[in-house]
Symmetry: T
Subunit: 157 residues, 12 copies
C-alpha cells in the first residue's frame, strides 16, 4: 500500500501561521505522525507540499497507477490513495479537482480547521465533488483519520 499525502498552499507555515486557527503543530510533525501511523497500518506514506497549483496538478498527474514505471522508480506514481489538504485551493481550483478526476486513485480531502464554520467562501469545496469523503476540523488528527480511512478503502477495493 502506497499513499500520497498532498499539502496545499501555506501549509508549510503550520505552527506559526495563525495558531488560533491552525494550532501549533508543524507540517513536519504531521508528516512524521503520518509515516509512523502508516507503518503501523502497513502503508508507505509519501508527503508533498507546494504553494503552486500547477505543481500539485503535476504531482497528481504522475501519481497514476503505471505498474511498470512505479516498480522501477518507487518515488514516482503507483499510489493506491491520495490524502489531500488543498488549503485555499479547495475553494478556487477546478483544475486540481479535474486532475483528481483524471487519475484512477481514490482521494480523501482533509482540513485542519472546520471549514464549514468559517467564512462563506471557505464552505465551498471544488475538491469534494471528486473525493471519496472529507474530514475537517480535527487539527493534525484530520490527517491521521484520513490515513485510516484511506487504508480501509484500499483494503476493501
Amino acid at each position: 500500500m502506497r499513499i500520497l499525502v498532498i499539502h496545499g498552499p501555506n501549509l508549510n507555515l503550520l505552527g506559526t501561521r495563525e495558531p488560533e486557527i491552525y494550532g501549533s503543530v508543524t507540517m513536519e510533525e504531521i508528516n512524521n505522525s503520518l509515516r509512523q501511523t502508516g507503518q503501523m497500518l502497513g502503508a508507505e506514506v509519501e508527503c508533498f507540499q507546494s504553494n503552486h497549483e500547477g505543481a500539485i496538478i503535476d504531482k497528481i498527474s504522475q501519481a497514476r497507477i503505471l505498474t511498470s514505471d512505479s516498480n522501477n522508480n518507487p518515488d514516482k506514481g503507483g499510489f493506491d490513495a491520495i490524502i489531500i489538504n488543498p488549503g485555499a485551493y479547495t475553494h478556487t481550483s477546478i483544475a486540481i479537482a479535474d486532475a483528481l478526476a483524471g487519475v484512477n486513485i481514490p482521494a480523501i480531502e482533509v482540513h485542519i480547521s472546520n471549514i464549514h464554520k468559517r467564512e462563506e467562501f471557505r464552505q465551498k469545496s471544488f475538491i469534494a465533488s471528486v473525493a471519496v469523503g472529507q474530514i475537517t476540523g480535527f487539527g493534525k488528527n484530520s490527517y491521521l483519520l484520513g490515513l485510516r480511512a484511506a487504508v480501509d478503502i484500499i483494503e476493501q477495493a
Copy 2:
C-alpha cells in the same frame, strides 16, 4: 468516558434505504461496531435514533454534564462527547444546532455519504457551525472515525 451517538431521521431504514447511496449496512450493525470499538478505546457508547427533531433536541438537552446526576443515573446525561448524524435535519434544523450550542459537550458531525458532492441543498450544514469537525463519505467508517476523533478530543481536554 461516555459518548452519545445520535442517528437522525430515516437512519432506521439503513440497509434497505437507497443502498446505492447509503450502502447495505444496517444501523444496528453500525451501533454494534461503535460499541465494540468504544470498548477497545475505553469509551462507553450509547446509541439513539429518532425521526423527530424535537426528540433529538430533548436527548441533547438531557446530555448535559451534570456530574451528580450522571453518577446516579448512568442512562441520562453525563456524556463527554456527542457523535451526531443529523440526516436530513443537517440542512434544515437550526434548533438542533442551537441545542448543541446550548450544552457543554463537544459534538462531531458524521455522514454516511459525501454530502458535499450531492444536491446543492445537502451541502449546507447548520450543525457544522457548532460542531468540532465533520466526517463525511466513508459509510459506516464515518461513525468509527468519528468515535476515534471523539476519544482523542476527550483525552486532550
Copy 3:
C-alpha cells in the same frame, strides 16, 4: 389494493382554517369521500393526520411493503401507494422526502390550494422530487383525483 393517505400539519383544522384559501370542507369529509371512492375503485384507504414531521416519517417508514408482516397485521405496512398532502412541510422537510425515497411505494403529492400561485416560498416542494406526480388547486377534489391516479399507477405496475 391498499392506499395510505397522509395529511400534514394543520389539515386537522380544515373547514374553519382560512376558508377563503382552503374551503369549508373538513378533513373528515375528505376522508369519507376517499374511502367511498376507494371502495368504488377497489382500493382500501387508510387515513392519517399529524402535525409532527417525525410522526409522518415514522408512518411512512412503517408503510413499506413487507408482505408477511402486512398479512398478519393489516393496520401496519403493506401499502401499494401513498397519497400525501404534506401541508407546510412540503416546503421545509427534506426528511419526509428522504423517507418517501427510502421506501418502495409510489407517492402522489396533493394540495388543496394551487401552491404555485401563492407566496414564493410555497412554490418549492421538496416532496415533488420523490413523487410520481402532483395535483394542486382543486380543493377536496385534489385528493380524489390523486386516488384515481394512484389506482391507475398500481394497476399498471
Copy 4:
C-alpha cells in the same frame, strides 16, 4: 359543456419524442381518450395543437364566452373550460398567461412529466399564476384527470 384542450410546442412529437421522459403514447391517442372520456362525462372536447405561441394566444382569445357567436359557429368560442399543456411555453410565456387571465374561462394546467423534479427552469410556471390548478407527472392520465377536474369545476360553477 364544451372543453378546449390546448397542446403546446413539440407535443405533436409525442410517442417518438424522448420516450424515457414523455412515454410512448401519441397525441392522437390522448385526444381520442379525452374525447371518449368527455362523452362519458357529458362534455364535448375540442383539441388543438400548435408550436406557435401566438397561435395559442389567438386560440385562447377566441375561446371567450360570447353566447350569440358560439351558438352560430360551434367551432369557435363558447368554451366552459380550458385544459392546457403549455409545453416549454409554461416557463417562458407571460403572454399566454395574460391571454388566459384576459378571458373568462377556468383553465387547468397539465403536464405529462413531473416538471417539479426536472431542471430548475422547468419548475417555474407562468401559467400556474392564472390557472385553477395543476396536474403533473401522470403521463396521458394527467390530461384525463384534468378533464375530470374541469367537469367538476363547470358543474359546481
Copy 5:
C-alpha cells in the same frame, strides 16, 4: 382574559444556555414574572414549552376560541391571545405560522436576543407574517412587554 405563552425549542435551557447571548434568567423565572404581571393586569397566563414543532402546532390548534369548551375545561382552549417565542423555529417553521393563521387568536412574537443583529438566517421570521407585532432584544422583559401589548390588544378588541 386568558393568555397562552409558548416557549419554543431550547428555551428550557435558559439560564445556562449561552448566557452571553440569552442571559442568566431561567424559563421558570420568566414564567413566574409573567404570571405575576398577568395577575396585576387582570390576565390569567398559561405557559407551555416544547422542543417539538408538532407539539407547538398541536397546542396552538387547541387554543382556538371555543367558548363552551373553555368554560368546562379551563386548561384547553379559550385563549384571548398568544405570546410566542418560537426559538429556532422562527426561521424554519412555516407550519407554526400556518397554525397561528389557522386559529382566530392575536399572536405576539417575542425574542430574548435582538435577532435582527445576529446571523443573517436569524433575521427572517416566518412567524412575523402572521403576528400582530414583534418584540425582540430585551431579555426577560421582551415577554413582559409582550404581555402588556397582549392585554392592550384584547382590551381594544
Copy 6:
C-alpha cells in the same frame, strides 16, 4: 411624417380584458384617437396588432427607411418612428428588441398600466434598452403622449 403603432399580444382584448388593470377603452378607440391626433400634428399613423412575436418582428423588419420603396408602396416601410406597446413580450422578447435595434427608426415604448408598480417580472423591459424613451401608466393617454413625443423627435432630427 409616417408613424407605425404596434400593439403586442392580448391588446386585441382591450376593453374586456381585466378592466380593473387595463381600463375599458378598446384598441380600436385608441387607434382612432391616434389617427385623429396624428392628423392634428401632421403625422400619418398606421396601426398594427399581433399576438405573434414573429409577426411583430416581420413588421419592424419591413418598417426600415427605404425611400424609393416607401414612395411607391405607402403601406410598407418608410416609417419615421415606431410607437410600440409590446405587451407581455416587453419582458421576454430579446428578438423584438434586436429587431428595433436592427432598423434605423426611433422607437417609443408605451404601456397602459404602470408596469413598474406591478409584478417583479413586469418591471424588466428588454425593449427599453433600444427605445428612446418609455411612457407607462396613463391608459389610452400613454399612446397619445407617445405620439406627441414621436412627432417631437422626428421634427428635431
Copy 7:
C-alpha cells in the same frame, strides 16, 4: 388647477452637467416651458428644486389638499397634482415614496434620460410604486408630456 413640479438633486446643474446624457437645456428653461404650457392648458405651475431629500419630503408634506389653507396662502399646499423628477433619489429614497403615498395628490414621475437603459441601479424606482405613471427618456419633453398627463388626470378625476 395647481400643479407642483419637483426637481431632485443635481438638476440645478442641468445644461452643464454631463450634457451627453442630460442635454444642454437648463432647469430654468424647463421651468419656463412648463409655466407657459401650463398657462396654455389652464394650469398654474409651481417649480421647486432641492438637493435635500428631507426638503423634498417637507415640500410634498405641505402640498396636501387643505382647501381653507390654500385659499388664504396660495404659496402653500392645495396642489392637484405633482410632477416629480426625483433624480438619484429615485433609486434610494423610500422616504420620498412614502411621502407621496402619505398625501392625497396624484404623482407623475419623469426623467430626462431613459433610466431603463442605463446602469442596473438606475432601473429600479421606489417612486414608481406610488406614482400614476412614468415618462422617461425624452429630455425636456418628459416634463412637458408629464404636464399634459397631469392635466388629463385632474380633468378626469
Copy 8:
C-alpha cells in the same frame, strides 16, 4: 432619567397618512402619551421629528452624555436612552445607524406597523444592528412599550 424620542420622515403626517396602515393617532397624541407615561415612570421625555436624515444625525450627535454641558443646558444632550422610529430611513440609512453607534446611549427601535410582514425592502433594518431591541406592530403602543423598555434598561445599567 432623560429620554430622547426621535420620529423619522413622514411621521408628522400620522393620523391622516395611510390610516389603514398607520392608524388614526397623530404624532402629537403619541408625544403627549409618552410624556405622561414618562412622568409616571420618572423619566423626562423630549420629542423630535424631522424629515431630514442629516437633522436626525445632528440630533443624535448632540445627544451624547456630556455631563457638564447637559447640566447647564437641559435642552441639549445628556440623554440616558434614545427611542427612535426611523421611518423609511430604517431601511436605507447606514449613516443614522453609524450615528447611534458613535454615541454612548442605548437605543430602542420602534415601528407603528409590523415591518416584518410588509414589503421585502421594509424587513431589513440598518438601525437594528446598533439597537438594544426592536418593538414593531403595536401602533402608538410600540412607543409606550419602548419607553418602558428604556426605563428598565437605564435602571439596570
Copy 9:
C-alpha cells in the same frame, strides 16, 4: 448527406443590421458560401430563415429522419445534421431546444458575434444543452466551420 441550416430572428437583416456587431455580409451571401462549401464536401445544404419561434420548431419537427418520406420529397425531412443560428431565441426559447432534443439529428449551434463577450443575457444558451457543440464569434466563418464540423460528425456516425 443532407444538412439543414436554420437562421433565427433578424438574421434576414444581416448586412445592414448593426454592422459594427454583425458585419456587412448578407444572409444570402452566407447561404451561397454554405451551398458551395457543401458541394465541395459532398453535402446538400438547405437554408431556412424565420422570425417565428413556432416556424422554426415546425421546421425542426419536419426534419426528422424518415427515409421513405425524404426519398419521395427531397424538400422535407431526411436531414443528417442541423446547423442553427437561433439568434435571440438562443437565450429565451426552451421550446426550440426541446424540438432539437425531440428529433434524432445532431445539431450544431453557430453565432456570428462572440455571444460570450456581450451582454450577460446573451451568454446563456438554452440551445447549447442539446447541441453537439457551439461555434461563436467568427462572422460568416462560424457557419462554414459549423458545416465542416457537421460533415465530420455525419461521417463518423
Copy 10:
C-alpha cells in the same frame, strides 16, 4: 492650487466615535494636518463637514470652476480637486456620486478604516465610480496621502 476636503456624516464625532475602528484623532486635528501639509505642497485647503447628504451635494455643486467668481470670492468655488470621505453615504448615495460627475473637478475618495475588510454593505462605493482613485485604511494618513495624490493630479493636468 485650491483643494476642497469634504467630511461626510458622523466624522464630526471622530476621536470619541468607536475609537477601536476610527482611532482617537479628531477631525480638527486632521484638518490642521491637511492645511499644514497643503501649505508645504503649495495648496490651499478648505475643509467642510456635514451630516446632510443635500448639504454635501450643495457644496460640490458650488465647487465648480468658475474663474471669475472664485477670484472675487475665494470662499466659493474655484477648486482644483476634491478630497471626499463620504462616510456612510459612500454606500447609499447615488446623488453625491452624480454631483461629483456633474462638476468638472477630479475627486479622490478616502476612508479612515479599510472598508473592504468590514461589513459586506461597506464594501460597495457609489462614489468610486466617479472618483479618480480611492485610499482606504490608513487612518488620518488616508487624507494626507489623498492630498499628495490630489496635488500630483493637478500638477499633471
Copy 11:
C-alpha cells in the same frame, strides 16, 4: 504564419482522462494533426502544455509580436494567432484573460467537450471576454476548426 497552440491543465492526461467526456485521442495526436493541417494551410504551429497558470501567462507574455526578436529566435514570440484550450483555468483565471488582452495577438478559445452543457461553473469563461471566438464540443476537431479560423483571421487582417 506562425500560430501558437496552448493546452491548459490536465490536457496532458488526454486519452486516459475521463474518456466518456474527453474521448480517447491523446494530446500528442492532436498536436500532430494540428501541425499537419497547419502545413497544409501554410501555417507553422507550435504547441505548448502546462498545468501552471503562471507558465501559461509567461508563454503568452513572450508571444508578443517583436519582429526583430522573432526573426533571430524562431522559438520565441512572433506569433500571428493563439489557439488556447484553457482547461479548468477557463472558469477561474482572470490573469490568463488579462495576459491575452495585454498582447496584440488574436486568440481563439477551444474546448474538447461542450462546456455549455456541463456543470454551471463550466459555463462561464473569463477567456471568452478577450477571445475572437469560441469553438466547443467537437473533440479533437475543435482544435482543427480553430486552426482554420485562425488562418482565416490572419489572412483577413
Copy 12:
C-alpha cells in the same frame, strides 16, 4: 527599514499593456521611483514580479521576520512591510491572502487603475481582507503613496 514590493501577473507588460487603462509607465520605471523615494524616506526597497500565484506565495512565505536570518542574507526575509499589487490574483486568490495572513508583516494593497469603477469581478478583493489599507487608481503614484503609507506604519509600530 526593509520593504518588499510584489507585482502580480502581467505587470511585467506595463507600458505596452492596454495603455488606455494602465498608462505608459513601465514596471522598471516604477521600481526605480520606488527605490529612489525609499532612499529618501530611509527605506530599502526590494522589488519582485511573478506571473505565478505559487511564486508569490513562496516569496511572502520567505518574507517573515527572522532577524538572525535576514542579517546574514539581506536578500531573504526580514521585511518590515509588504506593498503588493496582486493584479488579477486580487480577485481570485484566497491563497495569497492566506499567505499574507500567515506572516507577521503589515501589507498594503495597491492598484494602478481604480478597480472599483471597472468590471464587477474586479471590485472584489480577497487581499483587502488581510491588508492594512488599499490605494487604487493613481497609476504609478499608487505605489509611491503606498510606500509613504508603509513607512508611516513601520515608524508608528
